[in-house]
């Protein structure tokens, strides 16, 4: 095989070195999301230790995948075209589970995203719960609500949410969002 095909081995090694349990790259649709979720659910059920943590990982994973999907959905509703390629990985080491998701974002949406996460990160657990209560009972927002999803992730993970925006060009960036969940 030509050297151009070495990439598959490289990718696999990178995944292995980072203890990746599952990774998907490509366009995310509801079917894929559902399959990834169910696959992880079944796998987590096999592991008998720390079932509480596994439920947590599961719940956060659902929210993360739905958040990527909704990000693209919003872009679609705005009639703007963006590269639908996304990445989702679930990995772990002895201390943490890591959920990392990546997707393209328009540069003019970065500030909103940043502010949303910074606002949540600045709160202590009671503040986060208070915010959750506000969002969950806000009847003016009927559709999927990323504010609610993010604060839900923050409460469940009980950790700071980390993000990064890598500029791609004048209009788009690649947005990486990471959640850490303590193993026990």
């Amino acid at each position: 095989m030509g050297p151009e095909d070495n990439y598959i081995y490289d990718i696999h090694l990178k995944m292995r070195d980072n203890n990746v349990l599952l990774a998907y790259t490509g366009e995310l649709d509801m079917k894929i999301i559902d399959a990834l979720i169910t696959s992880v659910k079944l796998k987590l059920k096999e592991v008998k230790y720390f079932p509480r943590v596994q439920k947590r990982v599961y719940g956060i994973m659902v929210e993360c995948l739905e958040a990527i999907h909704s990000g693209y959905d919003i872009t679609k509703k705005q009639n703007r075209k963006i590269n639908p390629f996304s990445i989702f990985t679930l990995s772990c080491d002895k201390d943490y589970y890591y959920l990392i998701s990546g997707r393209y974002i328009f540069n003019d949406n970065i500030e909103f995203q940043r502010a949303q996460i910074d606002k949540i990160n600045a709160l202590n657990i009671d503040g986060k719960k208070q915010l959750y209560r506000e969002y969950v009972s806000d009847v003016t927002v009927k559709e999927y609500n990323t504010d609610l999803a993010m604060v839900d992730i923050a409460i469940k993970s009980n950790n700071t949410l980390t993000y990064e925006f890598r500029k791609v060009d004048d209009t788009t960036s690649f947005y990486i969002f990471q959640v850490k969940i303590k193993v026990n």
């Binding site: 559902d34 509480r52 439920k55 599961y58 959750y132 009972s137 009927k142 999927y144």
Partner: protein, 132 residues
């Protein structure tokens, strides 16, 4: 009053509201593709049931017990559950006593916490049951 029974799927919980048997239960997993579409009939049913109770002058001495037995629900579902629980709160304030039984898997403290959060939003008493 016609019962409301919706079987569960991988994405949606089972709904079993049978007034004749005094059974009111939601159980399973909730992350519907279209949350509104799934929960709207449930909320409508509760509204109708409240009217039905009013019309039949339900006695305050009786009690309605709603059982929530979730394995998992996503944040969007949480919004609709809030609405449902608020509707039940209205029944409690206007018609008759209502109680919520909140079941959770023993190790799943997050699910217990979610129930506690809901209980803080309404005047309905919650009873918690851990299931092994």
């Amino acid at each position: 009053m016609t019962p409301l029974v919706i079987e569960s799927t991988d994405l949606t919980p089972k709904i079993c509201f049978r007034p004749d048997k005094k059974e009111f239960e939601i159980s399973g997993e909730s992350r519907p593709e279209n949350v509104r579409k799934f929960y709207e009939p449930v909320m409508d049913w509760i509204d109708n049931y409240k009217d039905h109770l009013h019309a039949n002058k339900a006695k305050g001495s009786e009690k309605l017990v709603f059982k929530f037995k979730f394995e998992y629900f996503n944040s969007t579902s949480a919004k609709f559950l809030t609405s449902i629980i608020n509707k039940l709160d209205t029944i409690k304030q206007e018609v008759m006593p209502v109680e919520i039984e909140w079941y959770y898997d023993a190790p799943d403290e997050d699910m217990k916490n979610s129930g506690e959060e809901f209980s803080k939003m309404v005047s309905i008493p919650f009873r918690f049951f851990s299931v092994n």
